[in-house]
Symmetry: C3
Subunit: 467 residues, 3 copies
């Protein structure tokens, strides 16, 4: 399928040595670092039998595996199928969307296990991992998948791997500042994952601005069946988001509550998305772009507050608003960002992750500040915000302040990090495609040659008979 | 893609103000009602710490969340991906199938939380919700998705929302009569979900009879890849049905047993479906319609009895029979219903849900009536049928009688409710499409304009060169 | 869509009586055998209430259902969606891939429940089943799905059912020899499932060698969207593989550890697959065949050792190597096997299951032999390898020897069994297609007739107007 494009004239997209080199070197580095640092945590180690006796644990069901593994698998599906297929909507970039997402996530989770491990699970020179680390690694990579959405179709796999390396690193630093230094709550990652990931990606795409991108305008749309593939991604993200927001919450009521709040917010979000999608189109027709994306904003926007006593109606309100904001963003803000701020945001992550992420951070700050012993119970309040040790005198309103500050920190990290990474990716050595070859699988993938008559869904008996 | 159809001449399908109005008003109503009524149940509330001490619960793993959340997520997938994609088989109605299913289910679960909450979880003026409520809300909406199958392609989204509102209400009433007043068992919902939902939908479609529907006959079929998409729906329904039938069963053996019975029934059902699909076709070829649908009848038909001591071979027999009944129904009954009874059943829900649902109710009644202390154990029998309090003197045979009566009640509710809703939907103000525009996404959706040569799977180098 | 092929001239592929007869007879046999033999195990039986009291179990959460059901569902998805859709890559064999996989797996799990039940769960003349039996039945069928990959597109459904009958039987015998007589560990089935299944299938396809298969060469490739469907299969296999390898491990740390090891191995495998896929292609482009398959080799290759103290870096190394071996196999070995050894391996199972399965067996033997009390703890070591009863004097190094011997046993069983079954399938009475009709759904399936202009993604207004 060698099309007569000017591929390779303007840019050298030949990956044969560069991509393998990066993949193999980095994987070897992972093996060495894992060998030096990573070991099983106590609940995954064969010494668990002794551990159980020591800690007087009477049943294997108390192993954290049984509290979190089902949620882990749901999150895993969101990262690989959810994000992967959500981006398959482009007519000629399905392989790249799902394949590169696969590549960067597979690398990212390894590096995240290390980075987050050094910050959070480091004991006696070793990183001790368990199922919660796997979830957190998936979360961290989620922020990279989000950023990928902004630059989808415009970067080489090497650029994506480099971005992953840096973004995971910065994610872990930002997460450490928020969760440990500022001692804030962000179970579903409105700030750490969505706000950070989205503004990071938007900054990168701004720096990588392509003035002549309209040369590949014809490939930026979807076709009928690519929209259906994308709905697979959408629905898995939508359905499993309650698991996402509750996966690392405290055992018991917090995990339970986070799932309920998320369920409610997402349900409301679908209604307002449909309403505004129809309302903002002259002919009143629904737009698949909105249905695929804005219906998910409700999950993003309760990320921080889901494990708090947001209450079901509070969750509905958050979902209501975020569906509107996100849909309006797709209609009015995305064109504005592209034309005025030179932000070419392929998937519209500003509408799905950035704005709802900010809403999520703000809602989290307000919900925390409004917490009372009456609503949470005395012990419940302490447990919910971990007001123990050095933080036992912190009040809910102070907590709210720290929550709000965390939004700003995440934004600053995203802008600074995105600028740095954008500058690195701008170097002309990474093999990205020229403007007219963007959104085109043919550049990096062997694409099957299709002939008419060969495929059922286009079979035409008459033609087949007389070609 | 404005086709020169007579769209809008016969009917006004313009949704711009009507759809947003309904969505927004109803969502606001949900928020108000949730605000007044819905709160977290004790196991999702931050007071759970105190609750645990009061009830002497030693471990967080005793929280109902850990008993039911994995099953909940499976049920969630069935409702949104399972039903959504099962209906994608139509060549030009994929957006409508998966998108409208998404819309009605997202609204329905909110309304179901309220309706079912008032009947079952109402304490001191508040509805207290937990993971079991979420499952039950999904179940309730399942019955609407079933009814949607009968009218697929022939209704506007507003009609679907109105049907959802009424059907959820009636579902909750019927469920209350069955589970509380008649005190019957129906864990997998053969009666409450399938029999009720299917006959409700069939009554609606009968009243909405379109005499000139053959005008869109060319769009009622599938294409090769739409059949593959539909298989995604089929398989997720098939695989997760054991979770569906066990999701709200009693903790322990009942949940375990329900999963095993369902697994067995579904396996048997696949074999008889394949057998009869081949046998009833002159050339002996398999028909995707049967494989997509009749293979699921086994799950429907053990819905009531799955948590009982049906035994694995009993489950195989049920699956064996229901696969045959369902496949035969597709071949002979569906054309008959359409030509004689004016029932235009797009997805053939009569074969997949109505008849197998009836079988399920009957099998449940027989299995209950045949229960003995020998088989269940003394305590086991009491626990299985909840023969406690006012029901402690009820015998299995009386229980069987009540189970049988519940089938009749469900049918009556379905016919009466369906007639009422059908009459409402017949009003000419809801924006449904004219007969020649049925089964056509173009009416309510922005459909991407596809040009030849633009899409890989139809690329033809020669043509691209000389158009 | 009656194509002017010579279908039926060379071979009689008429299924109308043969397929139904086999399906119905066999299902009746299942019902009879289940009636005689299969009952609920104690944890799924209504007597569980009494059992709990007898065994002093205080909570229903101790029921094995809650330890294993989420993993069971993941495995279930892998068998039906994972394997089913992985094989949809062929342009004209999507129905056959997913449909026949459905048929053989649905039959196979029933027969596996019996066969494995007689060997492992037989008490007082009854097979007592629980959730672990369901998982093991799915595992057993997994080996048939693997073998199906080698003969995909070249066999009739009857041949597949016959192969399933025999292969499940031999699987159960081999499994009994390994797990019970040799007392080896193989939680993820590198030997019992992958090595056995793959070499069984390769032997069968070798015996069924078709010298003129190049007559259907044009149908052996993929098209753009069939590759995307196949990625659904790939990703579900990849994501849920940690559940596969941990599903039947001991409660607690072993299950936890198996999931972590598998997660790590698979992540590493993606990187080396991508590297070698690009490196081995002249233009440096990635090949979807590799991405769809070789990325999974890491899961196969830690199947035996996942529950052992392989450690995360050990898992990375295994994944690293198996990704390379598998990708190199696709490029160099598959053509060699076809041209020299007459092994026509449609899906390349030699690269995905056979070689990685052998690696898995070897890694398992080494890891077992290297086990020490220092690493496992005294009790941990006994528990990990079940060094109890008659095996309490067995040392790790002896265990390693038995593990290695098990690879050889599995290979011998596969070759002998495959030869036997291949010979049976070669009889000219089973209705397989002629060489030019291989990889063609039209033979066994009703295929929708597609006309141009009828489908959105090929709509061309001009053409539709003047055909």
């Amino acid at each position: 399928m060698e099309r007569p494009r000017h591929q390779g004239m303007a840019k050298n997209t030949y990956m044969r040595w560069r991509l393998p080199l990066v993949c193999l070197l980095w994987e070897v580095a992972m093996i060495v670092l894992f060998g030096v640092f990573v070991r099983f945590g106590p609940e995954a180690d064969a010494h668990w039998e002794e551990e159980k006796q020591k800690k007087n644990i009477t049943s294997d069901i108390e192993n954290d595996f049984y509290f979190r593994y089902p949620s882990f698998q749901d999150v895993h599906v969101m990262i690989f199928v959810g994000f992967g297929f959500l981006m398959v909507f482009l007519k000629r970039y399905g392989f790249g969307a799902v394949g590169f997402n696969f590549l960067l996530a597979a690398f990212g989770i390894q590096w995240a296990l290390l980075m987050q491990g050094w910050f959070h699970s480091f004991e006696n020179g070793k990183i001790l991992i368990g199922v919660e680390n796997l979830i957190n690694a998936d979360f961290c990579v989620g922020s990279v998948c989000i950023a990928f959405g902004a630059i989808l179709g415009k970067t080489s796999p090497i650029q994506l791997l480099i971005m992953t390396l840096f973004q995971v690193t910065l994610f872990a630093v930002n997460e450490y500042i928020l969760l440990n230094l500022l001692h804030v709550k962000d179970a579903g990652g409105s700030m750490t994952i969505h706000t950070f990931g989205a503004y990071f990606g938007l900054t990168v795409t701004c720096i990588l601005y392509r003035p002549n991108l309209e040369q590949s305008k014809d490939k930026q749309g979807s076709v009928y069946h690519s929209d259906l593939f994308a709905m697979i991604g959408t629905l898995y993200l939508w359905m499993y988001w309650p698991s996402f927001n509750s996966a690392v919450s405290e055992h018991g009521d917090a995990q339970h509550r986070a799932a309920i709040n998320t369920y409610c917010s997402l349900a409301a979000c679908v209604l307002t998305t449909m309403a505004f999608s129809s309302m903002l189109q002259k002919k009143g027709k629904l737009d698949m772009v909105h249905i695929q994306n804005a219906t998910l904003a409700g999950g993003v926007a309760v990320g921080t507050s889901a494990e708090m006593m947001l209450t079901p109606y509070g969750a509905l309100i958050v979902g209501f608003i975020s569906g509107i904001v996100s849909t309006v963003g797709y209609v009015y803000l995305t064109p504005f960002l592209e034309s005025r701020l030179h932000i070419q945001d392929t998937c519209g992550i500003h509408n799905l992750h950035a704005m709802p992420g900010l809403i999520g951070g703000i809602v989290g700050a307000i919900t925390a500040a409004a917490a009372t012993e009456d609503v949470y119970g005395k012990e419940g309040l302490i447990k919910a915000f971990d007001f123990t040790g050095p933080y036992q005198t912190r009040t809910p309103s102070v907590q709210g302040g720290f929550q709000a500050a965390s939004i700003v920190v995440s934004l600053l990290m995203a802008f600074a990090g995105g600028a740095l990474v954008g500058a690195i990716l701008k170097l002309p050595i990474w093999g990205d495609a020229s403007d007219e070859n963007c959104f085109e699988d043919d550049i990096y993938w062997e694409v099957p040659e299709d002939e008419e008559g060969d495929v059922y869904h286009m079979h035409n008996p008459d033609k087949a008979a007389s070609p």
